[in-house]
């Protein structure tokens, strides 16, 4: 899934996959079958915004260094939001 990036930091493919998995696990990001428009609420940017708001980070909807760093921290597997 294309992830909006803050251009101040170089993320590897592996980083992006980790970020996507994080948003799936904790922010209910659902996969988007190819070719079907996604409801705005379920875009990666929206989920990033949700996570940034939850942790009190600057809400940009883009993956930046601070957000990625927080994703690295050991944590509980229960989602932060969503069903």
């Amino acid at each position: 899934i294309p992830i909006p990036l803050e251009d101040s930091h170089e993320f590897t493919e592996k980083d992006l996959q980790f970020a996507e998995r994080y948003l799936r696990t904790h922010y209910d990001l659902r996969p988007n079958p190819a070719g079907i428009m996604r409801k705005s609420g379920n875009t990666v940017a929206a989920k990033l915004r949700e996570m940034q708001a939850f942790f009190g980070l600057e809400v940009t909807g883009k993956l930046d260094e601070e957000t990625y760093e927080l994703m690295q921290k050991p944590r509980c597997g229960v989602p932060d939001v969503g069903e």
Partner: protein, 377 residues
């Protein structure tokens, strides 16, 4: 604090838990204790009760697993996801799973099992993640240090919104000083005082005994309230030598001469009084001067004459290598103890007119006070 959608919660106060398997990182009794303490974090502030069962289906089934472990929410190897739990409900509801690719510990090394379990059991009871970085229910692991854990207010408010506040259940923590002078003219300065702290869930009393009476003092009260001992415990003798509470078993032990009584709230436990030698003391020992339970170590220290003993409450045995000389271990407090109590990592030794504040952590006296400073004299 947040709740799960539809504010999922248990419809009963008495819940069961079962430990299905163990991590090889800790001894079994360390895992048992970590989970027991983790449940007590929540039962201390609500009417909830947790009972361990060892067979069948419990409300909260606890297990260690790695990667895909049967619930289609796989763990991810070392670090990253540490554990997860399901909100209240049938089947998986309430269950808590711990990633056994982590290194679990009962201190700051690896991940502290008690802390992670207390967090996961918050989910088991219906709390979702909190946005408060200081809350136990904040999703990121933070080691909060060795000294006594206190449930942050955000979590207390959340869980009490689901289950209400706890009832007036007493739990008691003791100091032991014995009065030698008659009650009628109690003189703080010279006489020895028998104290114990009674703690209701949200009130904290200090109770102190004399020969036939005890005084009840609330921290915000100036005057102590005098109560006849036998009005609480008719079977107990007057003039008690020593007493302490075992918070793990929720029992209070009282000593007089060669006998010991066990109290559960206001009831005396069956088969008591027993002889103190059944605890491991020599048969010729006549009495115990003072006793104190140290929560963090799970040991109870008994002082008699110029010596002291250490009793392992978990294993229910007297520790090897005792008795030891008081002066050797607690240099500076004198060679006898009238009374002692523990609070927030400090032991307060009373010897005659003086009170010694001893830091368990740094193992030295940090302050000397007057015995009667407890009464703001």
């Amino acid at each position: 604090y947040n709740f799960f959608p539809r504010k999922l919660k248990w419809s009963k106060m008495n819940l069961t838990y079962r430990i299905m398997n163990y991590t090889s990182d800790l001894r079994r009794n360390e895992v048992d204790r970590a989970f027991r303490k983790a449940f007590k974090v929540w039962s201390d502030v609500t009417p909830l009760n947790f009972t361990r069962i060892r067979s069948g289906i419990a409300d909260i089934m606890i297990s260690f697993g790695t990667k895909e472990h049967g619930d289609f929410y796989p763990f991810d190897g070392p670090s990253g996801l540490l554990a997860h739990a399901f909100p209240p409900g049938p089947d998986y509801g309430g269950d808590a799973h711990f990633d056994d690719d982590e290194v679990w510990s009962d201190d700051s090394k690896g991940y502290n099992l008690f802390l992670v379990a207390a967090h996961e059991f918050g989910h088991s009871l219906g709390l979702e993640h909190s946005r408060d970085p200081g809350a136990l229910m904040f999703p990121i692991y933070t080691y909060t240090g060795k000294t006594g854990f206190v449930l942050p207010d955000d979590d207390v408010q959340g869980i009490q919104e689901l289950y209400g506040k706890s009832g007036t259940v007493y739990s008691i923590f003791y100091v032991t000083i014995t009065i030698n002078s008659p009650v009628t003219y109690f003189n703080y300065n010279t006489s020895k005082i028998l104290l114990f702290c009674a703690m209701t869930r949200n009130l904290k009393y200090i109770l102190f005994f004399s020969t036939r009476f005890f005084w009840r003092l609330h921290p915000q009260m100036v005057e102590a309230e005098l109560v006849l001992l036998k009005s609480f415990w008719p079977e107990l003798p007057n003039k008690i030598d020593a007493a302490y509470e075992n918070p793990i078993k929720d029992l209070v032990f009282m000593f007089k001469g060669k006998k010991v009584w066990a109290l559960n709230g206001y009831d005396i436990v069956e088969d008591f009084p027993k002889k103190i030698y059944e605890m491991g003391f020599p048969k010729e020992m006549k009495r115990i001067d003072a006793a104190v339970h140290v929560k963090d170590t799970g040991k109870t220290l008994f002082f008699t004459g110029n010596k002291y003993w250490s009793y392992d409450e978990e294993a229910e045995v007297m520790e090897a290598g005792y008795p030891r000389l008081i002066e050797e271990e607690f240099a500076g407090i004198g060679d006898k103890v009238d009374a002692v109590y523990e609070r927030n990592g400090y032991l307060y030794f009373f010897n005659g007119p003086l009170q010694f504040e001893y830091s368990i952590w740094s193992q030295r006296i940090v302050r000397v006070l007057h015995t009667n400073s407890l009464f703001w004299c």
